[in-house]
């Protein structure tokens, strides 16, 4: 098969006018319409779009794996010049996994948990190339080296659950590359991973595709990531590519109103919530069987013209105004639009006046006891171990302030939220809320007022509402429970008001959660959190599961309600772009400890804690003007059961000093009044570090107002 690829030197993949439909109970649903793409060897092309736009369906169609209710209803897919429709099942099976490989979002789901990694890797060359077991072992080991896994011999013997998520994804990549594919399909390969791990994987994929001259089709919802990994991208909306072209032309001169809208939804490093609020795209993605006539984006478009946009199916048109021959747009009016003005910007907002301190966390600790029931542990007496989920947390929040708690998975940010909510008790230290220590006040011991004044917005929109109850009854229950109102008529009135506040139609009172979209469910979640007139709201990754345009709307909504009610918002997130955009103060956590805290401006500019520096470098930014210093962290997050003795970050630190980092817990150094960094490196040295993010040239129209976000 390898020889074949040497002879053929045309494009690896040619897709022309591909149409895919699903056939369900209610009839035929077109998932992808008129999709065309050509992929040269070694080239990487991205597909961006929100959920339900059909980008994953395209990948499955290339694999010719459509499930039992999907079918290709038009167009051709040619792989290395051969029409895949003419191939037999046998040929297709040989192609899959060897010539075309796919990497999925969930590495744990892609690996068989009951086989060792070695067995699963060796299977690939043994099936596709009929090599001997010994040769397969050698090939697999070599590939594990190529994906930079430490100690590959051990990994070969390990089962998937014994290695971390990032390592699993490296194994999946190794497995995909073992077949020496000409084409690699990556469906959200890093979405399930932490940002610092993601940065490593992205770099690895780029390195390997150069090394093996593999073509990449990269599918993601993350525009920033696309900018880093792709040569060309296609922006998909509702089953169609609406704009495609070289990465620079899409990012610098977008022509489609949807692309403009997407950029308006993304927080960029030189924007903040006061100077340039995000603007969500109005309306919702049309359901596949309810698409409008003509342009699918028409009903949500600011440049919609009746009779033009809704007349006929819109076709791709070449953009002649720039010098990118690959730039196409599916818009009839792109020539009429003033593209300098088209990126929507919201009105400027006055800064929020901050009140007194509402929340003070002093030396809070939360340890979990883990009982080791093995016989040896019982004999030696060491059968109780402590997981230090939170260690020495210190920070304060004022009324009306937005404090972001940033960190990757396992850093203890959710444990902290649980302690605040009373679902767990603090082991030591105090959490002063409104003058009372609530650190060890369990939820059942709190008064309705206390409960109501501290509420939470949850992460997963599909999980946040009880699927069996109507939206109205769920909000009403909160109002009754917190004693805000007791008269049924007044409760109902309040429910309707809350629906107005979160900008949902009043009829939604009677709806069940499954009749709502993700963004709408999250709005109901916000309404529920604000029903008890809370003083403080904890938002645990409230937008990370939402699509870009929906996330922008939910973010703005949350900010507006917070501004009006002067609520303190604790925003727990791993997304530094969002944090930079909306937070007044930032707390950076790693392995249960605070690494750095200060105002947003202080944390996002030198002096940095080395971990903050690495985090900032890892975040993909959807702006070609931004230049980043690349820092890729080595290794994995240490286990919370067995943290490093000294600085928790010492095992992965790029500015590691030596023994002192490993053996001594760093003292907290103060750069400014409330800007604290826990690091051994002298403050003077940290101050001299160059900024991670800089701009090529001053950004056009809006500059952040210096000090506007400061307290």
């Amino acid at each position: 098969m390898g020889e074949h690829s040497d002879i053929y030197d045309g494009p690896v993949l040619e897709i022309d006018g591909l149409c895919i439909s699903y056939f369900v109970r209610s009839g035929e649903i077109p998932a992808v319409v008129d999709f065309s793409l050509t992929l040269a060897p070694g080239e990487s092309v991205g597909l961006v779009g929100e959920s339900g736009c059909g980008k994953s369906t395209v990948a499955m169609a290339i694999m010719r794996y459509m499930g039992n209710n999907g079918d290709i209803v038009g167009g051709t897919v040619k792989f290395k010049g051969r029409d895949m429709a003419d191939m037999s099942d046998e040929e297709l099976r040989n192609l899959r996994g060897s010539e075309i490989a796919m990497i999925y979002q969930e590495p744990m789901a892609a690996l068989n948990p009951s086989l060792t990694i070695g067995t699963q890797l060796m299977e690939v060359p043994m099936v596709h190339e009929n090599v001997s077991t010994e040769d397969a072992y050698k090939l697999a080991l070599q590939m594990l080296n190529d994906v930079h896994l430490p100690d590959p011999e051990r990994v070969m013997e390990a089962y998937p659950h014994q290695i971390s998520g990032g390592q699993q994804q490296r194994v999946v990549i190794a497995m995909a590359l073992l077949g020496k594919p000409a084409l690699l399909l990556l469906d959200e390969p890093t979405t399930a991973l932490d940002v610092t791990v993601e940065a490593g994987i992205v770099e690895l994929i780029a390195e390997l595709s150069r090394k093996f001259n593999t073509s990449l089709l990269y599918i993601s919802h993350n525009l920033g990531l696309m900018l880093e990994v792709c040569d060309r991208i296609g922006v998909m909306y509702s089953g169609e590519v609406v704009e495609s072209g070289h990465i620079d032309s899409i990012f610098s001169w977008p022509k489609h109103p949807y692309t403009h809208g997407l950029f308006g939804c993304i927080p960029l490093p030189h924007a903040d919530k006061l100077a340039r609020p995000l603007v969500a795209i109005e309306g919702q993605l049309p359901l596949p069987h309810e698409r409008p006539n003509g342009c699918n984006f028409g009903p949500r478009c600011n440049f919609f013209e009746k009779g033009v946009c809704d007349a006929d199916q819109v076709h791709m048109e070449g953009v002649i105004s720039d010098d990118d021959p690959a730039h196409y747009v599916r818009c009839l009016r792109w020539n009429d639009i003033d593209h300098d003005e088209a990126i929507p910007t919201g009105p400027e907002q006055p800064p929020v006046e901050l009140g007194d301190y509402v929340l003070e966390v002093n030396n809070m600790q939360k340890y979990y006891e883990v009982h080791d029931t093995s016989l040896s542990a019982l004999v030696s007496g060491g059968n109780i171990k402590h997981v230090k989920a939170n260690e020495e947390l210190n920070f304060k929040a004022r009324e009306g302030e937005t404090v972001a708690i940033v960190g990757e998975s396992g850093c203890g940010k959710s444990t902290f939220a649980k302690v605040l909510m009373g679902l767990e008790n603090a082991t030591d230290g105090e959490v002063m809320f409104d003058g009372v220590d609530i650190g060890d006040l369990a939820v059942k011991d709190r008064s309705p007022q206390q409960l109501g004044s501290l509420q939470m917005v949850f992460q997963n929109p599909n999980d946040t509402l009880n699927p069996s109850l109507t939206v109205g009854s769920q909000i009403a229950r909160v109002i009754r429970k917190f004693g805000v109102e007791s008269d049924p008529k007044k409760i109902r009135q309040r429910v309707l008001e809350l629906l107005d506040i979160v900008k949902l139609p009043r009829e939604f009172e009677w709806r069940k959660p499954r009749q709502l979209s993700g963004g709408q469910k999250q709005r109901v979640g916000i309404a529920r959190a604000f029903a008890g007139n809370p003083k403080t709201v904890i938002a645990d990754e409230p937008i990370s599961a939402l699509d870009v345009s929906v996330a922008a709307a939910v973010t703005e909504l949350l900010m507006n309600i917070q501004r009006e009610n002067k609520t303190t918002l604790l925003f727990i997130s791993h997304d530094l772009s969002a944090v930079r955009y909306l937070a007044d103060r930032v707390v950076v956590m790693y392995l249960g400890q605070i690494m750095e805290r200060g105002t947003t401006d202080e944390v996002f500019s030198p002096p940095y804690h080395p971990y903050t520096e690495a985090l900032l470098s890892a975040v993909p930014i959807a702006d070609p003007q931004v230049v980043k210093r690349r820092i890729v962290l080595e290794g994995n997050l240490p286990s919370a059961m067995n943290p490093p003795k000294g600085c928790p970050f010492s095992t992965r630190c790029q500015r590691h000093l030596g023994d002192i980092c490993e053996n001594e817990i760093p003292k907290v150094q103060f750069n400014a009044d409330r800007h604290a960094i826990a690091c051994h490196i002298p403050m003077q040295e940290l101050r001299d570090v160059a900024p991670v993010i800089s701009l090529k040239e001053p950004p056009p129209p809006v500059q952040p107002q210096p000090g506007a976000a400061a307290e």
Binding site: R25, V443, M456, N466, P467, S468, G525
Partner: protein, 298 residues
């Protein structure tokens, strides 16, 4: 508890719940297997309801012993379609009347087993810890006994009667239901809406009954259908062992037992009640398959 019920069944959702039930039944039409099951079940329900009108004879009346199917009974000039048993009672009438026994006690026993099993499962899965350990061990102990021995112990202790059948079946089935519910609860208790309820200070009972239980209903409904089938077999077995309803009452299991000794000469005495039991059990199983199939489709 007062405000608890008001949240479960708000006055306005009654109509929509009814409409949904109709709708899901309409969906069942897409599954041919489910339709066959529903037909069989509905047939027996119909027979049970209209037993007095359908049965040609009094099930206890002695006509003529050992009549083969199709014999004409001289005195009343009627055809004995399924023949008579050793005492001369009309088998068709006994099967028709016997369907009442099954269709009253099987759902009653299943319901009762579900109430006990669901409460145990909720408590074990939601509280975990000691609750879980104790309840799960009790379940393990019951499940480790041979079911028949359990029935014999329960019935011989309390005597043979309808209510004791219900008690015996509850005792034997609840642990299995508890395990299913516990598994579902262990998953559901980690949902955000459960955390939301906890953080607004709801009682454990409220969280279990309002936030968790309704969302476990899908798999439980399917399981209940399958289990109903098993309970029908169990009631048959109890009747066969003489642990069912006391003798003169028409009882499918008892009829099989009475005919057993003469099965070689008069097979109709055993075959007919066997067919009755099988068709009803098959009906419930096919219905469960259909429900599962329809609920998995999108």
């Amino acid at each position: 508890m007062a405000d608890l019920t008001s949240t479960i069944t708000p006055a306005f959702s009654g109509g929509s719940a009814f409409m949904r039930a109709i709708k899901s039944f309409a969906l069942l039409r897409e599954s041919p297997i489910g339709m066959v099951g529903a037909f069989l079940v509905l047939f027996w329900v119909f027979v049970a309801i209209f037993a007095p009108l359908l049965a040609p004879h009094d099930p206890l009346a002695i006509l003529q012993p050992f009549a083969k199917p199709g014999t004409v009974h001289a005195k009343s000039a009627t055809t004995l379609w399924l023949g008579t048993d050793n005492l001369g009672r009309d088998i068709l009438s006994r099967i028709i009347w016997g369907s009442r026994t099954v269709l009253i006690y099987a759902p009653l026993a299943t319901l009762s087993a579900y109430v006990v099993g669901v409460l145990m499962g909720l408590a074990a899965g939601y509280h975990r810890g000691w609750w879980d350990t104790i309840l799960s061990r009790i379940a393990d102990i019951i499940l480790s006994f041979p079911v028949l021995v359990l029935f014999i112990i329960v019935i011989s202790t309390f005597g043979a009667s309808g209510i004791n059948i219900v008690i015996a079946i509850t005792f034997a089935s609840a642990p299995g239901i508890m395990r299913i519910v516990r598994g579902l609860v262990l998953d559901l208790r980690n949902r955000d809406y459960v955390a939301a309820a906890q953080t607004r200070g709801e009682s454990a009972l409220y969280v279990m009954l309002v936030e968790i239980l309704p969302n476990a209903r899908g798999p439980l409904i399917v399981d209940a259908c399958v289990r109903l089938g098993y309970v029908i077999i169990t009631i048959g077995v109890l009747g066969f062992l003489g642990l069912g309803l006391p003798p003169p009452n028409p009882d499918w299991g008892g009829m099989i037992n009475e005919g057993r000794k003469m099965a070689m000469i008069f097979p109709h005495m055993t075959i007919m009640p066997c067919i009755a039991i099988s068709s009803l059990v098959l009906g419930f199983n096919l219905l469960a398959d259909g429900l599962r199939e329809v609920s998995l489709r999108d």
